[in-house]
Symmetry: C2
Subunit: 354 residues, 2 copies
């Protein structure tokens, strides 16, 4: 299989290197052949080509079995009102590959849960799988500026269509069946028309196609509360693009170990895109101290979701757990204990891989 690497900016290249090492080791151990190709995205792509997502990158991704991404952005390109910005590369690759579903598993790690800002008795055992719609909503609706009577306004349209809601709800419901069989859909149907459509369609899909899955709906503001007060009550959560952006970032604080959390972006067919949830961490870039485990766990998701290699994915996840059990920590998750660097952590996981 052909795997495209998009290291991007900041710590991106360092963590992607460890992701590639683990994939190469899996290939060897399990008798697969993976080809790797690196391409440009984000700030480095702007610097080298003027374009945050060069055509060569899009073409390579289209022809790949899967894409492993580091992170994009940094202070150098940080003006959100600039014409060309690193995150446009991210938004565009999602759209080009039609990656309409962003999967974010939020799990506490028993060894790390004391680093959570939440009390252990509230957060320990949290295990939520978010499905965020990724190619619709207000991110991609018509937008612009207008002036009337000398007053300038800016607008962006939040839009959802029936099939857009159906396909993401279906994916989430199928995932719920493989877990604890519970699905929560999050909307703002008491105020927003696209949320009312979302709720109607979700309800219809669930009652027609998934009557066996326990299903409920929660308003987005209430969900922002529940994630803090009772995170363990949720199994699979499905929501729109903007709500998902906010809620998954909120939820990413729960385990107390952002450096451990991977994400997957999937379409109906074609390659998926896998990346750590954390950003490009420009403050520690180049220092060799970044935590590669989120990227390594993203590589496991890549094997599972794009290559159908479940055993291989599980082997990586077990190796990561074994390394944590041995007490090995990068600086971000070290708490009081001594820490190791990016490459040492990669090596430690490799050694545990069976």
């Amino acid at each position: 299989a052909n795997i495209v690497l998009l290291p991007g900016d900041g710590i991106g290249p360092e963590i992607i290197q460890q992701g590639q090492r683990i994939l190469a080791a899996v290939a060897q151990r399990f008798g697969h052949t993976f080809q790797f190709e690196s391409h440009l995205i984000g700030g480095i792509a702007i610097d080298q080509t003027g374009d945050p997502l060069p055509d060569a990158t899009v073409t390579a991704c289209r022809n790949a079995a899967a894409v492993l991404l580091g992170a994009v952005g940094g202070p150098k390109w940080d003006d959100p009102t600039a014409k060309v910005r690193p995150e446009q590369g991210l938004l565009k690759i999602r759209k080009e590959l039609q990656l309409f579903a962003n999967l974010r598993p939020i799990q506490t790690f028993p060894e790390l849960v004391d680093a959570s800002p939440l009390k252990r008795e509230i957060v320990d055992g949290t295990d939520i799988l978010f499905f965020r719609e990724l190619t619709g909503g207000v991110y991609f609706g018509e937008s612009g500026r207008s002036t009337s009577d000398g007053v300038e306004s800016a607008y962006a349209s939040m839009v959802y269509s029936v099939p857009e809601v159906e396909r993401i709800v279906r994916l989430a419901a199928v995932a719920a069946r493989g877990r604890n069989n519970r699905l929560t859909s999050v909307d703002k149907a008491n105020v927003l028309e696209p949320s009312r459509l979302w709720r109607q369609v979700a309800q219809h899909v669930m009652s027609e196609e998934f009557p066996d899955v326990q299903y409920d709906v929660v308003l987005v503001d209430a969900m922002a509360m529940h994630l803090i007060s009772r995170p363990r009550d949720f199994d699979v959560v499905v929501t729109g693009n903007l709500f998902g952006d906010i809620l998954t970032d909120e939820a990413s604080m729960l385990p107390g170990s952002l450096g451990m959390l991977p994400s997957a972006s999937m379409g109906s067919d074609g390659p998926g895109l896998f990346e750590p949830i954390h950003g490009s961490a420009p403050d520690i870039a180049g220092k060799g101290i970044a935590n590669p485990l989120a990227t390594i766990l993203a590589a496991a998701m890549l094997l599972r979701h794009s290559l159908g290699l479940e055993d291989e994915a599980k082997a990586i996840e077990a190796a990561v757990r074994a390394v944590l059990a041995d007490g090995l920590r990068t600086a971000d998750i070290a708490g009081g204990s001594p820490s190791i660097g990016t490459e040492e952590m990669g090596t430690a996981v490799l050694e545990k891989l069976q």
Copy 2:
């Protein structure tokens, strides 16, 4: 001064009764004359008139010095796709009275902080004042349904104009001057055009009119993280309607005592509207156990912000603190200790009022 009471649904009437008692006591103690008038809003207004906000209510509010609201909604009217819904009353009164600024102070109470889902060392001492824009954004943009090629879509337009942003940022910046002189504006300017306008206008207002106020900007998804990981780092926060809805509800979990949190909705002139942050709690309605302290603290905000009676507001706030220091608790904040009812709590505050 003429004060309109809008008890609304669920526990609304019970808590408003205690709010009225404390206001009447303040009037007597400080030599003011307050007239009270009750009017219909929400579910009870639908039941009695078919309209969640009858004209009589709007007229009474327009002619009042201030409005004290309980809560609206409940399972009886809970279908978010129904044509007439309790929360429409809320949205409409905000618009009718042009209450463009929703102020939500989020403070921990030293006596109650152990009830927070967050660890004491993260949350203790949190003191944030949110300014949520309340009459614009995607809540009030054009919205509807459309069908093209047989595919149904729903849309809602997120819109902000320059003056809408200016006026709320100014209010927030003035408030910052009276506190720790720091203002954080929250947007999604890396993706959304209305957020880019928001950021430009906010930056301009701050540099031209408030160069003395420490000012920064945070993306909404990052803010959802920071509220959990380092809530004490914020002073005044200003944001749009939808982001404010989500972030203030998230933040309302931090003190661990939702039943203690008031909010104020203000316009440029005319009456303000004051209410507890919590909802109508239909499960405990009529039982006499609801916590009236959020409403009592909302009454304090009413005195401060609509009647300019700062000493009187402080007297109420001091009385609430004294009651907490005495160990008096309603069931929601009792933890392990014995609890008292709604009316007893109201009486306890009255007795402490000096």
